[in-house]
């Protein structure tokens, strides 16, 4: 009896969420909403700006999961660079103020199917991997820069190096592509 009660007190339940969990859920809803608006809006630049909200919401989620370093890198790379690149590209096109009539294509149902399948797969993997893992918010920070760095370079060195080779290949590819054009002139 007592043991069972203790176990119940130690394992946090879904019915009495803490403040952080409620915040996590609300930010998640905002992120999801912003992401849905991003892909459904017919105003191109608004889509890019909603993407900022979605990516920022994701950064806040990382923060709530105590992964501070990942959160700031998320803001730095995605909001600071990728979205700026996106907006730069959009400004080079004729993206009008107001709705673009041709922003939709016939691929809509296919895209929806792919998105749902990807979402189901990802949610299933994450739920299955972390079933009953809870972060201890009172103890040492589990996602600090130091811990993240140590994990990355102790346990995940090979994937990290493989990724860097992949990025290098992409970089070389980009240079090759841009040089070819110059010769054609």
């Amino acid at each position: 009896m007592i043991l069972a009660a203790q176990a119940a007190a130690e394992a946090p339940g879904f019915l009495s969420p803490s403040g952080v969990e409620i915040a996590f859920l609300l930010v998640g809803l905002v992120t999801l909403g912003a992401a849905v608006v991003t892909v459904t809006t017919r105003q191109l630049v608004h889509a890019a700006l909603w993407l900022v909200v979605a990516l920022g919401g994701l950064a806040v989620e990382y923060l709530l999961l105590t992964a501070e370093f990942i959160a700031w890198v998320q803001v730095l790379i995605y909001v600071g660079s990728v979205v700026v690149l996106l907006l730069f590209g959009l400004m080079l096109t004729k993206a009008p103020i107001g709705r673009s009539p041709d922003a939709d294509s016939g691929n809509r149902p296919v895209a929806l199917g792919v998105a749902l399948a990807a979402a189901v797969a990802l949610v299933w993997v994450v739920v299955d991997a972390f079933r009953t893992t809870w972060i201890d918010l009172d103890g040492a920070v589990q996602g600090s820069t130091e811990v993240t760095g140590a994990t990355l370079f102790k346990h995940w060195v090979l994937p990290f190096e493989a990724l860097s080779v992949l990025l290098l290949a992409a970089l070389v590819g980009a240079i090759v592509l841009s040089r070819k054009k110059e010769q054609a002139r």
């Binding site: 501070e68 370093f69 700031w72 803001v75 730095l76 600071g80 730069f88 959009l90 920070v141 820069t145």
Partner: protein, 322 residues
């Protein structure tokens, strides 16, 4: 209760600094520029050497009509100044001005990443303004802003990474605790790269191609009037304060000084920041505007290699002294 009070006091102090320091820099710019050009600058507002000129300017801006062009994207247009200004307020929270936990708004574990990430967000404000104004000059300004940011973000990050390597930490107070005087010559190249790239990110002369008033009429801000225009200007000066403060903390040793370390640390920080701000103004008066191709060339063929060389040097010295 005590905790809440502590947080509130810190926020109020940082907010006060955020409102006062940019105005001080602005006023200094008026006077320094004037004297460098053989003029007197503002002399009447407030009586003593025109000290209240910017306050008067603020009142003037507040009285002007707030115009939104008919074809503009209303909400994005109105939101842009806030997006441009607020990041600098957040960054100011993380800059330590003295030793110890009491002299920083908020200790952040990944401080360098925080400040660089949030500063990058501020540029979104200019992009939003440039696109939403429905004006070709604004659009050109927005385009140039984006191109400039993409070019100069990389060397800035690399230079900051070099300091983080030297200190073995990415927290700003941690970097200051590890600082030694000989870092100054060791990191000097990184410091120059960081400062120059920061100037470019703020679009200060000689990197003011995106706002070039004589060709594209202040770029992204062409259509702005009244208070919203004033907010963009405030963002520029807050950016100068933040950039000079960051350069001070990362490369010039922040509160470390030849004497009076503990009690007078904050004086050293402010002094170094002020000297750097003076340099920013000095550069504006001295150099002509760089052309767009010169801008890109400077970033990609000079600053990026220099920053990479600095990182290599940092790594070699770091391994050698261990």
């Amino acid at each position: 209760m005590n905790d809440a009070l502590d947080v509130a006091v810190r926020l109020v102090i940082v907010f006060g600094l955020f409102l006062v320091l940019p105005l001080v820099v602005g006023q200094t710019e008026h006077k320094v520029m004037a004297h460098m050009q053989g003029r007197l600058g503002p002399m009447y507002a407030g009586g003593f050497h025109g000290w209240a000129q910017l306050v008067a300017d603020g009142v003037k801006f507040a009285q002007k009509e707030d115009v939104v062009p008919k074809d503009a994207d209303r909400r994005v247009f109105q939101l842009a100044p806030a997006v441009a200004l607020l990041p600098y307020l957040l960054v100011l929270l993380a800059i330590p001005i003295g030793p110890g936990e009491g002299a920083v708004g908020q200790v952040i574990d990944a401080g360098i990443f925080f400040v660089l990430a949030v500063m990058g967000v501020g540029v979104l404000g200019s992009l939003m303004a440039g696109w939403a104004s429905a004006n070709k000059f604004s659009l050109l300004g927005g385009l140039r802003t984006a191109a400039q940011l993409l070019a100069y973000e990389l060397p800035m990050l690399l230079a900051a990474a070099s300091v983080a390597m030297a200190a073995g930490t990415v927290s700003l107070p941690g970097i200051l605790n590890a600082f030694e005087w000989w870092w100054l010559p060791w990191q000097i190249v990184g410091a120059i790269v960081f400062f120059v790239a920061g100037l470019a990110e703020l679009q200060r002369p000689p990197f003011d191609m995106p706002v070039a008033d004589s060709e594209i009429i202040f770029g992204a801000y062409t259509e702005y009037t009244g208070l919203r225009f004033a907010l963009f200007l405030l963002a520029e000066y807050a950016g100068i304060v933040v950039l000079c403060g960051l350069t001070t903390v990362l490369f010039l040793g922040g509160w470390h000084g030849p004497f009076g370390g503990d009690g007078l640390g904050w004086v050293w920080t402010l002094l170094k920041t002020a000297v750097l701000a003076f340099v920013v103004i000095w550069l504006r008066v001295t150099y002509p505007r760089l052309r767009e191709d010169q801008l890109q060339k400077l970033a990609w063929t000079t600053l990026v290699p220099l920053a990479l060389a600095q990182i290599a040097l940092t790594g070699i010295v770091k391994v050698a002294i261990q």
